[in-house]
């Protein structure tokens, strides 16, 4: 569908969106169903073929004479498939039925630029179309006609990703709650908001003040919940560990937010992949292990889904620098206490049928988005995900 038509058909054309947010400044619970979605983005293109390894496949070992992982190093989950040596907790989560691996996820005409491919994942556009809003942002537009009193989606970073920018609504990006509160509730901002009682204009000036008011409201809200935030000191002291800790604190404190977003970079393993990927996947595995444990203890796990994705996978054949180059097609991990389908959603990619040296696409990533919106959030995906995609039978 063309961008213009798509935007017209979506909720964005609704005039309800034009009501300034501060007219509805009162807090209201938005995640009525109590379902939460956590997204962990692995930036740089994680090598999926060495993450979920077909250890009985000769083509795999022929393509990866240096990087190929031996059967005895792997955490075998079936009689033919093993997880990367670093994925110890992930293997346990596979056993306990908390994990679903979806293989061969991608999109038609894959793009091998990190930035462009990430934008395609964020905006949910076709690879030859350009959308300047993100899929979760459009979910916010859809959910918050006018305003979301409390932040519905939070990214744990200093700046906001495209995925969380709607046409009207934007999620909140916070790296450190105390710092965020201090900066947004400066004396100047308090003074300015007193000067600007509800504006009824829709121009950019009013938009800036609307954003400022929402920021200060969010800071007030977070402050009111601060003392309810447990320390959760069990998380590893890595960047991802700290990010997952912050979002778990927010969830434990009963924040209304239903989407939490975080990313970890460094997966662009063109050289010395073995050590690099071991270190990175260990960080993912440790942090995710603690995350799931904590959410189980807090009785939040059955209403939480975690999606782990990367903008693309890597080429099947290793390069000459003990690394791998940009490829396409990759697995997506879904973790949840509410999975109906567990283990593997589909077969591993067929290494004898490659597309120009790359894994063939089996599942369009927008099928996963459609599933999350429709079956997890109980929301009509039209107007959020452009086009129509068959949902997966997961939840």
């Amino acid at each position: 569908m063309e961008r213009r038509t798509f935007l017209k058909r979506s909720a964005l054309a609704s005039t309800a969106l034009m009501i300034p947010g501060f007219l509805q400044a009162q807090f209201k619970p938005l995640s009525q169903l109590g379902k939460r979605l956590i997204i962990i983005q692995l930036s740089g293109g994680n090598d999926g073929l060495n993450t979920v390894v077909p250890f009985r496949n000769d083509i795999y070992y022929r393509s990866r004479p240096v990087l190929g992982l031996k059967r005895d190093q792997l955490n075998a989950v079936t009689d033919a498939v093993g997880f990367h040596p670093a994925f110890k907790n992930m293997a346990k989560l596979y056993e306990s039925g908390d994990l679903l691996t979806i293989n061969g996820v991608g999109y038609p005409n894959p793009n091998r630029s990190h930035f462009r491919s990430m934008d395609i994942w964020h905006s949910a556009s076709d690879s030859d179309k350009h959308l300047q809003s993100g899929w979760l942002g459009r979910y916010l537009d859809h959910q918050c006609a006018g305003s979301c009193g409390n932040p519905l989606a939070i990214e744990i970073d200093g700046s906001l990703s495209l995925a969380l920018k709607g046409e009207e609504q934007k999620a909140l990006a916070i790296r450190n709650v105390k710092q965020f509160n201090k900066m947004s509730k400066s004396r100047l901002n308090q003074f300015l908001l007193q000067q600007h009682e509800a504006e009824h204009h829709h121009d950019n000036h009013a938009y800036l003040y609307k954003t400022l008011r929402e920021t200060v409201n969010a800071a007030d809200y977070l402050e009111s919940r601060l003392n309810r935030m447990p320390t959760h000191s069990q998380f590893p002291k890595t960047q991802l560990g700290r990010q997952l800790r912050t979002m778990t604190q927010m969830m434990s404190a009963g924040l209304d937010s239903s989407v939490y977003y975080t990313s970890m970079s460094g997966f662009d393993t063109h050289v010395n992949q073995k050590q690099l990927q071991q270190r990175l996947l260990s960080q993912v595995d440790e942090a995710v292990g603690v995350l799931v444990d904590t959410l189980k203890k807090e009785n939040l796990w059955k209403d939480t889904a975690v999606m782990i994705f990367s903008e693309f996978g890597r080429r099947v054949v290793e390069n000459g620098s003990q690394g791998t180059d940009h490829g396409s097609g990759n697995q997506v991990f879904l973790l949840s206490g509410g999975l109906k389908k567990q283990g593997f959603y589909n077969d591993l990619p067929d290494l004898s049928r490659l597309n120009d040296g790359d894994l063939a696409m089996q599942i369009d990533f927008r099928q996963i988005y459609t599933t999350l919106l429709k079956d997890w959030f109980n929301t009509d995906p039209s107007g959020i995900v452009p086009g129509r995609f068959e949902p997966l039978n997961i939840f």
Partner: protein, 440 residues
């Protein structure tokens, strides 16, 4: 300062400095207009040593050159004697959305945009179509008679000239054949490879002939929709999306009469009365680059503020020479969310008072940019405020803002700044923390 003059300088450039206004003695837009259309001989220095041979690229050198080019242009925009040319060069950088793998090709591309920035759109389009960075970026290198690649033809119509809905899929397929054999060699020069070119007849926009690539560019330039599409985009950028259709229609006609002359179109806009109407002032949100260039200009930031300026570009989401896709950057409200607004509000404190932007900058920023490692304890920004000293807060605000804030707000800022140890710097930082500073 005349608010109309400031409006013109903010849109046709990146604002101004107190010293420039007093030195030039400008009182009204009419005083400034003639010098706005001057063109400058500034160009991005072509980086040496990485060549165009992709097999021999040195990654750390590329990174070093990319950083150097970024700052050369950012500071070049701030110091330019022909800010309109730089502003339009920036506009075309966004319009054509090219990201080059090699710095030298990015520099050649950028200098091409600058050369034609205020000239005829046709000259610009012909030059860009044969530009090495463009040929590589949109895969025309792979466009051969035996296996046509439509990427360039598609974006030529969709993003560069006509917009969606004004061409058919068949126009794209046929046009792509006309560009077969258009390549760049390893030195970055255009090369026409005869044996890969499709000399057969093509049907484009209902006309059938054995068109060459140049003729297809001419065909699309003749489409009335191209004039309309380009005028609308320039008007949205220079005036704002709110400009009414009647005035736009007048501009379409005169743009076509002038053979799509960009400079003449801008002249017509800036000499009109309606351009200075209240409704158009402070109507746009500055993009991160527009914001940063105006800050560089106001406080004389140079290369020694490089790390701060690079971090700000990354945190605010707009890095020169790295548009997110061929469609360019988002605009206006897409730039503003809670965290970017907080960052923008605190930028003045970082630039002028050396306060940290801790917790609001983008994570994973690699500050160890080669050759620019920041010594411990040194400042991210080195600002000069000498031109602002001795000016009243109201006088500062007349230069910093498209629409100066109210007396109450200025009084509050004076009160708050007066209680600090460096009131002169503090009031400037507080002025920059007002949401209105984000407008131009």
């Amino acid at each position: 300062m005349d608010p109309k003059l400031n409006h013109l300088l903010l849109r046709a450039g990146f604002g101004t400095q107190p010293k420039a206004i007093s030195r030039l003695g400008w009182k009204s837009p009419a005083d400034a207009l003639p010098s706005l259309f001057r063109t400058d001989d500034f160009s991005i220095t072509l980086p040496k040593g990485t060549g165009s041979d992709r097999s021999k690229v040195d990654k750390s050198k590329i990174r070093e050159q990319t950083v150097a080019m970024n700052l050369e242009w950012l500071i070049g925009m701030a110091e330019s004697k022909s800010p309109l040319q730089e502003k339009m060069c920036f506009f075309w950088h966004d319009h054509f959305g090219v990201k080059a793998k090699l710095p030298v090709l990015a520099a050649i591309h950028n200098n091409t945009l600058r050369k034609y920035a205020l000239g005829k759109f046709g000259d610009l389009l012909h030059a860009v179509a044969k530009d090495p960075a463009m040929l590589l970026f949109l895969n025309n290198q792979q466009n051969k008679k035996s296996a046509p690649n439509e990427n360039f033809a598609r974006e030529l119509f969709e993003l560069f000239t006509l917009g969606e809905g004004h061409y058919t899929e068949s126009d794209i397929k046929e046009a792509a054949r006309a560009f077969t054999g258009w390549k760049t060699d390893r030195q970055g020069a255009f090369r026409f490879v005869r044996f890969q070119h499709d000399y057969g007849a093509k049907t484009v926009f209902g006309k059938r002939k054995n068109f060459t690539g140049e003729q297809v560019v001419d065909l699309v330039l003749q489409q009335p929709q191209t004039a309309k599409f380009i005028v609308d985009k320039i008007v949205d950028f220079m005036v704002g999306p709110q400009l009414d259709q009647a005035k736009r229609s007048d501009l379409y006609s005169s743009f076509r009469r002038s053979d799509l002359h960009i400079g003449k179109l801008l002249q017509e806009i800036f000499t009109s009365d309606w351009f200075y109407a209240q409704e158009h002032r402070a109507a746009r949100i500055k993009s991160p680059i527009e914001l940063l260039v105006s800050v560089c200009q106001a406080f004389d930031l140079k290369k020694d503020s490089g790390i701060g300026l690079l971090m700000a570009q990354r945190s605010l989401g707009q890095v020169l020479f790295a548009p997110p896709s061929v469609a360019g950057w988002p605009s206006e409200r897409q730039w503003i969310d809670s965290s970017s607004l907080l960052y923008r509000q605190n930028l003045g404190f970082a630039v002028l008072l050396n306060r940290a932007l801790k917790g609001i900058e983008k994570a994973n920023f690699d500050a160890k940019v080669k050759g620019m490692d920041l010594p411990k304890g040194s400042k991210l920004f080195s600002a000069s405020t000498r031109y602002w000293q001795g000016l009243s807060t109201a006088a500062c605000s007349e230069i910093l803002f498209a629409k100066p804030p109210s007396q109450q707000v200025l009084a509050q800022i004076d009160r708050a700044a007066g209680a600090e140890s460096t009131p002169e710097l503090m009031r400037l930082a507080l002025l920059m923390a007002l949401p209105e500073y984000q407008l131009c």
